[in-house]
Each structure stands twice: as structure tokens, then as C-alpha cells.
Symmetry: C2
Subunit: 348 residues, 2 copies
Amino acid sequence: MENHNTEVTTNIQESITRFLASRKYSKIAVLVDENTEAHCLPKILDALPDHYLITIPSGESNKNLSTCEDIWMALTEAGFDRKGLMINLGGGVIGDMGGFVASTYKRGFEFLNIPTTLLSQVDASVGGKLGVDFHGFKNHIGIFNEPQNVLIYTDFYSTLPKEEVRSGFAEVIKHGLIYDAAYWEQVKTIDPYRHDWTEVVSHSIDIKKKVVTEDPFESGLRKILNFGHTIGHAIESYFLEIPGERLLHGEAIAVGMITEAYLSHKLTGLSKESLEEITDFLIKVYAPKKIDAKLFEEILGLTTQDKKNEGGIVQFSLLKEIGSCTINIPIGIPDMIDSLFYLNERIG
Amino acid sequence: MENHNTEVTTNIQESITRFLASRKYSKIAVLVDENTEAHCLPKILDALPDHYLITIPSGESNKNLSTCEDIWMALTEAGFDRKGLMINLGGGVIGDMGGFVASTYKRGFEFLNIPTTLLSQVDASVGGKLGVDFHGFKNHIGIFNEPQNVLIYTDFYSTLPKEEVRSGFAEVIKHGLIYDAAYWEQVKTIDPYRHDWTEVVSHSIDIKKKVVTEDPFESGLRKILNFGHTIGHAIESYFLEIPGERLLHGEAIAVGMITEAYLSHKLTGLSKESLEEITDFLIKVYAPKKIDAKLFEEILGLTTQDKKNEGGIVQFSLLKEIGSCTINIPIGIPDMIDSLFYLNERIG
């Protein structure tokens, strides 16, 4: 996997201009959803030469092959060849799907990612995981491939609901917990509603890059990034379909980190004090709701369909202590149920 | 791109057994169409452990995203994870599509190609071009990726119509013309209806590997493999939709090589004697039909949609002499029309 450049910038237009000046593309497509078209595109428009704007409906529910077909068709109709460029302007859905479409159109042309949310900047922008959902399975169809470049501009957050920023903050918290105890001490002091993110985003990207560079195809170390995501994804998937109960990704991952910190305490040596410290902070920031115990089994059944599992056993990434994570811990449904009871009890 | 192994074998069951013994897979899928299920699968069945058989309808018209979705769904329902193996048993459609599906299911698992036709053995088996057609555009959606291994067994040809073997022979002829004048002398003596192919297939695979290894992503040298394919593909696409007029791939490429040899004589120095020698041999083997001059413009218009073209100009790969090919020769429709008139005249 080729290494790409990530540039954290305070002048996005200048960064785009410099990127385009250094290359020659036959055509440029800009992929947006209706939100980034309205709120983010105006912030970069002066830096864009003639381009084809491709607008797709926003939201995870449109991250599927049908939307890919619409984008492939738009590229075909505009006569794109393999010397084109796609600029993905948006959150994780735009980045994952736009990258997949660009990487598979005529066997691939270059793409530039301009992630517009905290979540997509610290997470999806690094690691080359591209793809779409398939019949309810998250990121089920996809490939590993890197964008030509990633431009990071935290001023886009001003266009986002505050909950979206708080959602992205969950990945920042995770980076401290799995890799960097000193960073966790700093993270604990952040108020996600009023923070200047540039430095934090840079540091989180650095952590993710270090992990991914050592293990691009997720055969070992990279799995530490799954901390909080096994139960977290199951919860996210379950409530996705229930009107009014839907959680943002980071809200689900916060709950996942509480329950998986509980499992870490029970099984991999995380101290009681650290467990409480993690739980207290996540409950303070995310104020999660209790989960009805009648739903536990159905929710947790979804963990066995996670693509990182091999041979039907659910493998967790758990903390040994704050700043250190271990992988491939097999866990059964009863222990997972205990962790959800712990969550409910602590929510009080 | 990782380099894979190609093994030309006279005992396919032993080769499969040896391959599987050296690896550990969680599950094995075997992808076939109704033809290879009936005629080729029995030849390898004794060497296969428990597996999931996935049967798709045969033919290029089913090489599309809809069939991919069926295969992805079959893998999902069978609970495949990233430690699975897909065995693609069939011609180019099975190899291209099965490889694409395996490379994109949960971001990719390994696949073993067992091509069953001369064409897929000497062409699709090497080079990592995977994908499917999209709204009539050939191989429009896809990626570059290599199988874990390719097993070549020429005894499968006994299950094929003779025209299929003759069709694959066109790629063998091309390898001589673009890369190896001595090979061309040998190729000229082959009667495609009664030949022992093992040695020829090995040599053709070696030529293709040499070319592809030097230029995996088709930025330069690899384009010599396109000789005969620019006009050839246009003719193949045009007649695909016309009942009773459909050409096999090699039959269309044979016509493409005659017309592009004519352009080579006109523009890149191929001698008159060589042009006639090439034309005579291809007409003798393939007995092509004349093409109605009223259709020339519509057929040739299809050349501008080939994915190898950049910026709307049609780039040809043409012969300088037998055994040597040059690339990126821009050609307009009038010259292409001349070449079709030459074809018709020589068919007489």
C-alpha cells in the first residue's frame, strides 16, 4: 500500500491550489452530499478549477452499491479516464465510498480526500479502508487503498451539529486509551463543545498512522484500533434501524469502550481505578441511555458477524492498562452480557 | 502487486492437493458456471475437501455487478471470513469476476485460479486485471490484484467447443507478433484443432509475465498487449448485441490484428511482406466475414470509450516489425476506416 500524505492546514484553499498545481489531471470530479455541498463546498470553491459535481444523499443508509452505481455512471457519462481525479468532500461515508468508487472505476484513478468531520479526519482519513455496506453488514464490500493526499481543515466543524463533533471525539479518546497514556491525561481535560482541535487532530492522526503503517492489512497490531468497536458496532447496527433510537458512531463507540473496559478489567488486567476513570469520563461526555436487558442477546448476536472475526469466534481488543492494548481475546456471550449489566448499573 | 505462482501441470488433482496442503483456510468456495460445473468440476472433485459450490450462469452477459451481488451474498450466507479461499474454475468471466468478488469481500480474501480455456490460461491468468462489465462497457469496474496461485491444465480443452480453442489461439499469435519473432515462426505452423498445447501455453504465459512484471499498472510497456484489441474490442462489442452475428473474443481480435497490422504498415514501419503474411495466416485460421461498410463509423465510434484512452484520443499499439511493438500512436477515425476497407478487400 502506497503511503499518502496528510496535511493539516489552516488555509484549505491554498492547500488545494498547491496540490493541483503539482499534478496534471484530465478531469476533476467533486463528490459531496447535500450537507457538504451547502456548507463545505463554498469554503473551497474558489480553489477549484472546472469540475464535475456529483451529489449523493447523505447518511450511512446510502453507503451502498446502489449509490456506487450512480457515481460510476456519473463518471462514465462525464467521460472520465484513468488520469482523472476525484475529490471526496465530506465525512466517513463520502471518503469510504468515494475512495472505493475511484479505486474501482476503470481499475482505479487517483482521489484526494478532504474529510469534513472530526471523526473522518482522525479515523477514516488514515488506513486505506474503503468500501460500502451490503444488506446491513457494515463495510462488507471494499478494498484497501490510499488516497493520493488528505487535507485536514478543522474549520469545517463550524458547519456541523455539536453532537457530530462529540461523536468524533470518541476516536480521539480511544487513541489515548489504546496507545498513549499521557495523551489520555490531556484528552480528559477536553470539552468537546469548545475546543481548538488542530493540535489534537494532528496527534491522533500520528497515532493512527503509526499503528497502520506497522500493519496495513490488519493481521496484528492494527486490531488494537478495534477497542470499543466490537460491542460498539453491534449497538450501532442494532439501533440504526429503530426510529428515534439511532446513535451516532461515536456515541455507540463510547458505550462500546465502557463495556470493553469492563471486560478488560475482568480479563486482561485493567485496574479497577482505570475502569472507573474511563467509565466516569465517557458517561459525563456522552450521557448514554440504559439498554433494555431484554435486548442484550439480540444485540450481542450481531458481534459474531463482524468481519474481523475468524472461524465464528468473537475476538476482542482489550486494555491491559491505560495506554496499552492487547488483541485476539476470545470472549463468549455471557461475559458480554455482564458488561452490559455493568453499563446499566453505572448509568444508574 | 504481489507476484503469484503459475504452475503448468499434467496432474491437476495432485497440484490442487499440494496447494491446499501448504495452507490453512477457514472455508473454501468453488465458483463455476453451468458448463464448468458439468465438465470441469468432475476432473478436480476428488482433490477438493468440503466446499461451498457457487454456480453462476455462463457468459459475458452475466459478468456484471448483479452477479457479483449474488456471489457476495452466497459468501455472506455461508459465513465466509477473511481466512477463506475462493477457487475460480472457468474461463475469463469466472476468473475476472471471481477474483474481483474475492478481492472486495470484507476487503479481500485469497483466491486460486484454475482457468479452463486456452484464452483464460494465456491471457486472463496473468496480469491481475479483475472486474466486471458495467452498462455495456467491458471491464469498466474492477481492480488490479493477483490470485494466490494459478494452476494451468490443458486437458480441460477437451471439454470445449473447438471454436473456443481457436479463439484463445489469437492471444498466442499476438504474443509472437508483439514480442518474439522466433515464436511467431513456430506459431504459424500450429493447427489449432489438433495441437498439444502445454509447451505453447507455458511460453505464452512467460511472455505475458515478462511484460506485466515490468509494468503492472499499464503505464507503458504493458500497452503492447493491446495490439489488435482497440479495433478488436470495438468489433466484439458491436456484434455482441446482434443475434447470430456474435463473435468469440479471439475471432474479433483476429480481425483487430489484421486491421491494426494494416495501420502498422501505414504508420509505424511494418513491411508490406509482414502485413501480408499476418493477414494471410489470420484469414486462413479464422475465415472472418466481411463487415458492412455502412457500419464502420458506428463500430469505430466505440474505440473512443476504451478505458486505456486518455483525454478522448484513441491510442494504438502498433507493430514496428514482427516481434516488436510500439505504443501510444494516436489515430483518427479516417485511418481506422481505411483499415476496415483493407480487411474487406483481403477477405475478397
